[in-house]
């Protein structure tokens, strides 16, 4: 009896591990424990990505529910989610882009080639769909730092008072939208 019990023990342990792994697979491991949820958008004053002389401040964004989507042309997952984000825009979701420049270093690179970046951005958006009302350029990555961005793509859901309600890491697809964003959106706009 004892021996049989011993023989079956590894199987039981393995089943336990499997149950945890299975749950882990669907518990969305990409959910970050961000310190920003429930806080207001940090203050910023940053230039527009596509227009000279245009600047955006945090106060400009207040009054409406919007998604702040951190992205870059260098990021393949961002490209993948553009299509779905564009569909969301067509459904009336306001999406603001926070353009994350991956590899610019002011001490090393000298002047930033704005024209090249704009060309790259507009060619990608015209090809894959443009979900953005406008894009904020965060060249020094200060806002990204304040928000606790750890990579791209990441998306923040912000309400009309400027409170961050959600911080999603990874791409937005129909599954993520249904399970994470849609319930909160419904609460906000009954």
């Amino acid at each position: 009896m004892n021996r049989k019990l011993l023989a079956i023990l590894p199987l039981l342990a393995f089943i336990l591990v499997c149950v945890f792994l299975y749950q882990g697979l669907f518990a969305n491991p990409r959910e970050l424990q961000t310190g920003r949820i429930g806080h207001t958008m940090p203050a910023f004053n940053l230039p527009d990505l596509m227009q000279d002389n245009k600047r955006w401040q945090h106060t400009d964004l207040q009054g409406e529910v919007y998604l702040l989507n951190v992205w870059g042309t260098w990021c393949p997952t961002c490209l993948a989610e553009l299509d779905y984000l564009t569909k969301l825009r067509e459904q009336g979701v306001k999406i603001v882009g926070l353009y994350y420049v991956q590899s610019y270093d002011a001490d090393f690179d000298g002047a930033f080639d704005m024209a090249a970046l704009r060309e790259e951005v507009s060619s990608m958006l015209s090809r894959a769909g443009d979900p953005y009302q406008f894009n904020i350029l965060d060249l020094e990555r200060t806002l990204a730092l304040d928000l606790g961005v750890s990579g791209a793509p990441e998306t923040f859901l912000v309400d009309s008072k400027g409170t961050i309600l959600l911080h999603h890491t990874g791409d937005i697809n129909p599954r993520v939208w249904r399970s994470k964003f849609a319930p909160i959106m419904q609460e906000l706009q009954p």
Binding site: K4, P10, C18, Y22, Q23, P29, C78, Q102
Partner: protein, 655 residues
């Protein structure tokens, strides 16, 4: 055209592996020799088609065929040709295809080198390997095909291979690790075949042993080179980071180490049978689990990498079938197994049993450290992270009894020993080790921490006891030099393996205790002193490589005003991804490494530099090489070489 051939060829390989799974297993079940005889040719055929498929991917990469999504995402036209080849395993889909090549390759080698086995066992081993092949091929074809096309809108240029992966260490270490992981599937198949046959005897252990040793040798080599790659390429002088990917490779290694010790007991003494089978199952299961953890995105380690829960689900389902099935079979069959041999407390059996306990505990530590953050989060207790301090502390605690045992074990004989007889030998070894270590450390360093002294003494203890044992074994009947020739290769494998581990322990201890680093800002012509070396900064040049540009800092190293070496540390920026990479300059030496990394240019015109002096760091990799050599040495042992005569008799018996 060529990518389609690759995909089609893989489909054919899948068909063959389905047959390889069904025919021999059914044949063995019903005693149909003709079905069993089909297995070897199916195995070889399957390997051929997988190879064609892999060749197709390499061809697509070499010819810059950016219609293939995988090539477009992981290669570029400016990449040197050898990195175009290695880029085929730089990403998920390609890496899995390489895994398949290894899996099919091992299966084919087993098919060809197993003629001395009885047909029933041979067929079952190949059938189980075929089943594993089916799983991996289905995964590749359905979930992660590297032959997906980007038609009609394909890019004119690829995204380039991640610069971190553009390094010779990267060319070889993943294939070596895969060889190891997949090699463990052979031990696994032998265990399952033995369970199915119901005969867990010494001959099973004997057949399984050389395969396990080889797989373990590859795993060791892969880990060693991987660690060397991290050291030379990541630019901050570390060699092991305890991240999930490394842990995924370390766990199978620990279990495989336990397995090959346990196999030797089962082979020679006929005990620990059920335990050995369990280890064989666990070794490969942990390889699979590691793959699941790394590939499913369940633990987020690298960002901007769209992970697909379907992939994770497939691997988990496969894991559940393979491991769950194996353990169920184990639970049913193993209760009938009886140990034959008897042994006393002071015996080699018990020493090896303790060795297994320590290694399994170490595996659990790694497993817990890897999974606990996830479990913790799932139970709603919030995010925690388990990092280096936890692992370092736990391993330090396990190491002390383990290393002491490593010295005693070889001195013991099977069955039983007289304690008094051992006492003198061990006392002698202990005194010599402490004396040698103290003389060594106190003469070279001003400060010797107790823990450093302890760990180094343990390393020396292993070498001394191994030496004493070698002397005793060689001089049993003849003179020392004559006796050395008579020792068999598996004994030498043990000596090499243990001395290698001693090198690793000493290397890790001394480099952790006595590494010195300095962050300095220097202008050309300035000199800094670090230990007995002077570093003179000569200046920075602009450099231009095939697919990158950057700066190279030149530093002359002087010792007692004599030029020792010149270091060139580079900071590169790769053209396509615009990523920065630090190429550290390393002057390697037997007793020390000088390591230099170039930082940024500062506003005052100077440059920031980081200089390391790392004593004995190379011993770690020397040790790793010795250990893996031990794994390959056993292949030469005549007991395990299949000999022609036996093959023929076996064939006749079968008929």
């Amino acid at each position: 055209m060529i990518p389609e051939i690759g995909y089609f060829s893989l489909t054919l390989a899948l068909v063959l592996s389905v047959l390889l799974c069904i025919f021999p297993l059914w044949g063995a079940h019903t005693g149909n020799l003709r079905l069993m005889r089909a297995a070897p040719s199916l195995a070889v055929g399957q390997f051929m088609f997988v190879l064609i498929s892999f060749a197709a991917l390499i061809y697509a990469s070499l010819t810059d065929d950016f219609t293939v999504a995988y090539v477009a995402y992981h290669s570029s036209s400016t990449l040197p040709w050898y990195y175009k080849i290695t880029s085929t395993w730089g990403g998920h889909e390609g890496a899995i295809l390489l895994w398949l090549v290894m899996q099919a390759g091992w299966t084919a080698v087993v098919a060809m080198r197993s003629r001395s086995l009885p047909w029933i066992l041979r067929a079952r081993v190949l059938g189980v390997l075929g089943f594993l092949g089916v799983g991996f091929m289905l995964y590749t074809l359905l979930m992660s095909s590297p032959f997906e096309l980007l038609l009609p809108y394909y890019p004119v240029e690829g995204r380039d291979l991640n610069p971190l992966l553009q390094d010779p260490g990267m060319i070889i270490h993943p294939p070596l690790l895969y060889m190891g992981y997949v090699g463990l599937s052979v031990s696994f198949s032998f265990a399952i075949a033995a369970l199915l046959t119901g005969k867990l005897d010494n001959s099973w252990a004997k057949w399984s042993r050389p395969w396990t040793m080889t797989a373990w040798g590859f795993l060791t080599l892969g880990l060693t080179i991987g660690s060397w790659w991290a050291y030379s390429e990541l630019g901050w002088g570390g060699w092991w980071f305890w991240d999930p990917v490394e842990n995924a490779a370390l766990m199978p290694w620990l279990v495989a180490t336990a397995l090959l010790h346990s196999l030797s007991v089962t082979e020679k003494r006929g005990v620990f049978k059920s335990w050995t089978v369990l280890l064989a199952i666990a070794g490969f299961s942990l390889s699979l689990l590691g793959t699941f953890i790394v590939r499913s995105g369940i633990i987020v380690s690298v960002h901007a990498f769209a992970t697909d829960p379907d992939r994770g689900l497939f691997i988990l389902a496969f894991l559940a079938v393979v491991v769950g099935g194996a353990l169920t079979l184990y639970a049913f069959r193993v209760a009938q197994v009886r140990s034959e041999g008897r042994y006393k407390l002071v015996s080699r059996e018990v020493a090896l049993w303790l060795n297994n306990i320590f290694l399994v505990v170490a595996t659990f530590v790694v497993l817990l450290g890897t999974l606990l953050p996830m479990v913790h989060k799932e139970m709603g207790l919030g995010s925690i992270s388990i990092g280096e301090p936890f692992f370092n502390k736990m391993f330090a605690i396990i190491l002390v009894p383990f290393a002491i045992l490593m010295g005693i074990g070889p001195l013991l004989r099977w069955k039983q020993n007289k304690w008094g007889f051992l006492q003198n030998k061990m006392l002698f070894c202990a005194i010599v080790s402490i004396a040698v270590t103290s003389a060594w450390l106190f003469s070279s360093y001003d400060v010797v921490a107790p823990l450093t002294l302890l760990a180094t003494t343990l390393a020396v203890w292993i070498v001394v006891t191994t030496g004493v044992d070698l002397y005793v074994k060689a001089t049993i009947q003849t003179s020392f030099s004559q006796g050395l020739k008579r020792l068999d290769l598996s004994y030498w494998a043990m000596v090499l393996g243990h001395v290698g581990i001693a090198f690793i322990i000493a290397g890790v201890t001394l480099t952790s205790a006595y590494s010195v680093e300095r962050d300095v800002s220097m202008k050309p012509g300035e000199v800094v002193q670090l230990n007995q070396y002077q570093y003179r900064f000569e200046g920075v040049n602009t450099i231009r490589g095939a697919n990158y540009s950057g700066h190279a800092g030149e530093v002359s190293v002087l010792k007692n005003d004599k030029l020792e070496t010149i270091l060139h540390a580079e900071k590169r920026r790769y053209d396509i991804g615009m990523q920065f990479m630090t190429e550290a300059a390393i002057d390697a030496g037997f007793t020390r490494d000088l390591y230099l990394a170039l930082g940024e240019q500062l506003s005052n015109g100077g440059w920031s530099l980081r200089i390391y002096h790392k004593p004995f760091v190379r011993w770690m990799w020397i040790g790793g090489m010795l250990v893996s050599l031990a794994g390959f040495l056993i292949l030469g042992d005549k007991r395990y070489r299949s000999n022609k005569k036996r093959e023929q008799t076996a064939a006749q018996e079968a008929i």
